[in-house]
C-alpha cells in the first residue's frame, strides 16, 4: 500500500471537495438501524502472558512484577514476540518484533516459548465457563469472547453491574480484561478495545460513541487501516462524513476484512452479523440419591458406571477421566478421579479403577448423594468383540496400564522412550505409560543393561596414567580392574549444558569377580575446567 491507486485518487478528490467545499450535512447512509440486540464483547489483551504468569505462579517460580517478560513464537523471520507484560511494554518491547531486536533494546528481557495451541484451548474453556452469564457465547478471535446478552443483563443487576462482575471474576482468575456492551458485535468489539472503560452504548447513542473510535476499531486489516489513515480518515466519524459512492467504488471488490464500508454497516446494524455459538460439549454424569446416609460408596459404583457407559455409548463417546463425587450430609464434598489411557466405556473396567482409592474419602456422618461424571471424553466408535469376548484393539494392555496407574499414579507406571542425545542418562526419557507407545530404540552394544539413577563417585586407589584406575573402591568394596574397554569419549552438549561442564571418558571394566562395570572420568587433566578429574560409576553390564 505504498502508493495510492487511481481509485484512491478519485476518493481523495471527493475528500478534498469535502474539505474545501460547503459543509454538507452528514450523510444519512450511516444512520444506525434500530435493533433490540445487546452484544457484550470481552477483550483479553494479555491472555497468553496472563496464562504463562498463572502457570509460573503455580510452579512457584514466577518472576517479579517489574521484570520484563515476553513470549516468543517461531516464524519465517526467526523468533517473534508474541506477548509481553507491562514491564516489557514499558521497556519498549512490542508484539510482532523480532526477538533479537528486542533483546538489544532490553537485555534483561526474560523470554519463554508461547504455547499457542494450549492458549486456544484455554480460551475455548474460558468461553464455555463464561456461559454462566449468557448462553449464547462464542470465541472472538484469539484474544476475545463475544456474548449475546439480550435479555440477560437484568439477572446480574443491569449492564454496568454485569460488566463489573465479569471483569472482577476474570481478575480473580488472574486475567486482564476489557469489556463493552453495544447493540452490535462490531460496535461492542471496537468499544471494548478502543473505547472507554466498561463502555455501555445504548442504541440511540451508537453513532456518537462509535464516531470517536479510530478506524482500527472497524476490525479491518492493518493495511486497510494504513490506507484510510493516508487518506486522512483517522476516526470512524471521518469515514461517516465521506459520501458513500466513492467509498463504495474504492472498496467494491475488497473482502470483508479489508472493506471498511461493510464493517461499518455491520457496526451500525445494517448488515446482519449473526453470532455463531458452538454447542456445549456433551456432559456425562449419573447420580444416585440415597434415602439414608451411607458410609461406603462401593456398592453403588457398578450401577453408576453402567448408566454412565450407556450414556456414553448412546452419544458415541468414551471416557478418558472419571470422577466420583460424594456429597456428605454435613455439606462437605469430596471426589476421586481416575484416568484411562484410551477412551473406554467398559463399565466393569471403569468401576475397577476405583479399587483401593475410596479409602481416601472421609465419610464423616455419611453421604446421601453420589455422582459419577466423565469430565473428559473422546469420540469413540462402536467396537466389535471377538467370539470369546476379547477386545481386538489392544484395549487389554491399555486397561492393565489404567489399573496399574490407578494404583501407582501416573509417575509410577512409565515407558522409556529413546531420545537422540549423547549423554547416556538423557538418551532415554521415562514417560507416563498412559501417554502412548514410544518408538522402538536402537540398541547399542557398548551400553550397560542397567543405568544407576545418579552416577556414584568412586575412590581411586591406584591410578594409571592412561586408562581406568587399576583399583578403586565403590560402596566400600575394592574392585581390581582386570580387563577394560575404552575410552569412549562423550562430550558435553554445549547447547544444553552449563559452560564449564566437563567431558566424560567412559570405560567398561571387568573386576576380579567378573563384574562388568561402566565407569567414567569426568574431565581430563589440564582442561582448565576444575581440579583433578573425578571418577564415577554409571552402569552395570550383564
Amino acid at each position: 500500500m505504498s502508493r495510492l491507486s487511481s481509485r484512491d485518487m478519485d476518493l481523495a478528490a471527493a475528500l478534498k471537495q469535502l474539505e474545501t467545499g460547503l459543509k454538507t450535512p452528514a450523510p444519512d447512509w450511516a444512520k444506525p438501524k434500530p435493533s433490540g440486540r445487546r452484544i457484550l464483547s470481552l477483550h483479553l489483551p494479555r491472555f497468553a502472558m496472563d496464562r504463562w504468569q498463572i502457570m509460573a505462579d503455580r510452579r512457584g517460580d514466577s518472576p517479579p512484577a517489574d521484570m520484563p517478560c515476553a513470549l516468543a513464537v517461531d516464524s519465517a523471520r526467526g523468533a517473534m514476540i508474541h506477548a509481553t507484560n507491562h514491564a516489557a511494554e514499558a521497556a519498549g518491547v512490542y508484539i510482532g518484533a523480532r526477538v533479537v531486536d528486542m533483546r538489544a533494546i532490553c537485555p534483561a528481557l526474560h523470554l519463554d516459548h508461547a504455547d499457542v495451541d494450549s492458549d486456544a484451548r484455554a480460551l475455548e474453556r474460558l468461553m464455555l465457563w463464561s456461559r454462566r452469564w449468557a448462553p449464547w457465547t462464542a470465541r472472538d478471535g484469539a484474544d476475545g469472547i463475544v456474548m449475546d446478552i439480550t435479555g440477560c443483563a437484568h439477572l446480574f443487576g443491569g449492564e454496568d453491574a454485569m460488566l463489573l462482575q465479569i471483569e472482577d471474576r476474570l481478575a480473580g482468575l488472574g486475567l486482564n480484561s476489557a469489556s463493552a456492551i453495544a447493540p452490535t458485535h462490531g460496535a461492542a468489539w471496537g468499544l471494548a478495545r478502543f473505547g472507554a472503560v466498561r463502555a455501555v452504548c445504548p442504541p440511540d447513542q451508537l453513532e456518537t460513541q462509535i464516531s470517536a473510535l479510530p478506524v482500527r476499531a472497524l476490525r479491518i486489516t492493518d493495511d486497510t487501516t494504513l490506507l484510510l489513515n493516508r487518506l486522512g480518515l483517522k476516526t470512524i466519524g471521518d469515514l461517516i462524513a465521506v459520501p458513500r459512492v466513492p467509498l463504495a467504488r474504492r472498496f467494491a471488490r475488497a473482502p470483508l476484512v479489508e472493506n471498511p464500508l461493510m464493517r461499518l454497516d455491520q457496526m451500525v446494524g445494517k448488515l446482519a452479523e449473526p453470532l455463531d455459538a458452538p454447542d456445549d460439549p456433551p456432559r456425562f454424569i449419573t447420580h444416585a440419591r440415597l434415602p439414608e446416609p451411607v458410609q461406603d460408596p462401593t456398592e453403588w459404583i457398578p450401577q453408576l458406571a453402567q448408566d454412565l457407559c450407556a450414556d456414553l455409548e448412546a452419544a458415541g463417546f468414551g471416557a478418558r477421566r472419571i470422577t466420583l463425587t460424594v456429597y456428605r450430609t454435613d455439606g462437605d464434598v469430596s471426589s476421586v478421579t481416575v484416568a484411562t489411557s484410551q477412551p473406554s466405556r467398559d463399565a466393569a473396567h471403569l468401576a475397577k479403577l476405583f479399587d483401593g482409592k475410596l479409602d481416601r474419602i472421609d465419610p464423616g456422618y455419611g453421604f446421601d448423594l453420589i455422582t459419577l461424571a466423565a469430565p473428559f471424553v473422546e469420540q469413540m466408535g462402536k467396537l466389535q468383540h471377538r467370539l470369546d469376548r476379547r477386545a481386538t484393539d489392544g484395549s487389554e494392555l491399555a486397561q492393565t496400564i489404567d489399573r496399574l496407574t490407578a494404583r501407582f499414579g501416573p509417575r509410577g507406571v512409565l515407558r522409556p522412550a529413546p531420545l537422540e542425545r549423547h549423554i547416556p542418562e538423557r538418551s532415554e526419557q521415562w514417560r507416563p505409560a498412559m501417554a502412548g507407545t514410544p518408538d522402538p530404540a536402537a540398541t547399542h552394544p557398548r551400553r550397560p543393561i542397567r543405568l544407576l539413577e545418579h552416577p556414584e563417585e568412586i575412590r581411586v586407589l591406584y591410578a594409571v596414567p592412561e586408562g581406568p584406575p587399576a583399583q578403586f573402591v565403590w560402596r566400600r568394596q575394592v574392585h581390581r580392574v582386570g580387563r577394560f574397554d575404552g575410552p569412549e569419549r562423550i562430550a558435553p552438549e554445549w547447547w544444553a549444558d552449563k559452560p564449564g561442564t566437563r567431558l566424560r571418558d567412559y570405560y567398561k571394566v571387568e573386576d576380579q569377580h567378573g563384574l562388568r562395570l561402566w565407569i567414567y572420568r569426568e574431565g581430563v587433566l589440564g582442561d582448565l575446567r576444575g581440579a583433578e578429574p573425578r571418577w564415577f560409576l554409571h552402569g552395570l553390564f550383564a
Binding site: 492393565t400 509417575r411 507406571v413 567398561k508 562388568r516 553390564f541
Partner: protein, 205 residues
Amino acid sequence: MSRPTPKDATLSEVFSPRAIDAAAVGFVLAHLDTAKPVLWIQDRLSRKETGRPHLRGLPRPIEIIHVDANRPVDVLWAMEEGLRCPAFGAVLGEVWGDPAVLDFTATKRLALRSEAHRIPAWLIRRAATAGLSAARNRWRVASLQSLKHPWDSRAPGAPVWEADLFRSRWGKTGRWVAQYDGTRLTFDHGVEADAYDDQRREAEG
C-alpha cells in the same frame, strides 16, 4: 545343551549372590523370546541400588512398561495384575531382600496364574536367601570372567554367567556356564563351571 528347563511359561526365580551383579538381568532377558511388551516391576531398593533398565543397553529392542513400586507387596500385586493381561510377553519383578509377603502362598499364586495365562513370570531376588518358595525353577546366576574379545586382548568380551539351577520342578538341576550371543542362550556342562570356578579361585589367589 541349549536349555535345561522346558520352555513352558511358569514362575522362575533368579537369585543374584552379589546384589550389584547385573548377570541375573541379562540371564532373564536372554530367556525372553517375545515381541510383546514386557512388564517390569522394581521395588524401591532394587531401583536405588542397581538402577533402572537402560533401553539402549538391552540385548535387543524390547518394549518395556516399567512400574516403580515402593513396597514388595506392590510388586506382587502388579505382577499378578500383569499376568492377567494377555498383551504382555513376560512379567519381571525385582524384589530386594526377604520380605515376609513373598512367601510360599504368594509365589504359588504367581506360578499358577503364570501357567494359567501362559505368560512367563520371573522374579529377580537380590540380597535374598533361598527360602521356601513355589517357583518352578530356581536359579542362582553370577558373572564369570568374560570370554576373550575377538579383536582386543585387553578388553572384556562376550559375557559368561555361572548358572546354578538348584531346584526345578520338571528339569534336572545342575550347574552350567551360560552364554548369550544376542540370539541364542547356550549352556555348557557343569564340569566347565567347576573349571571356571577353579580358575577364578586361582585368580583371586
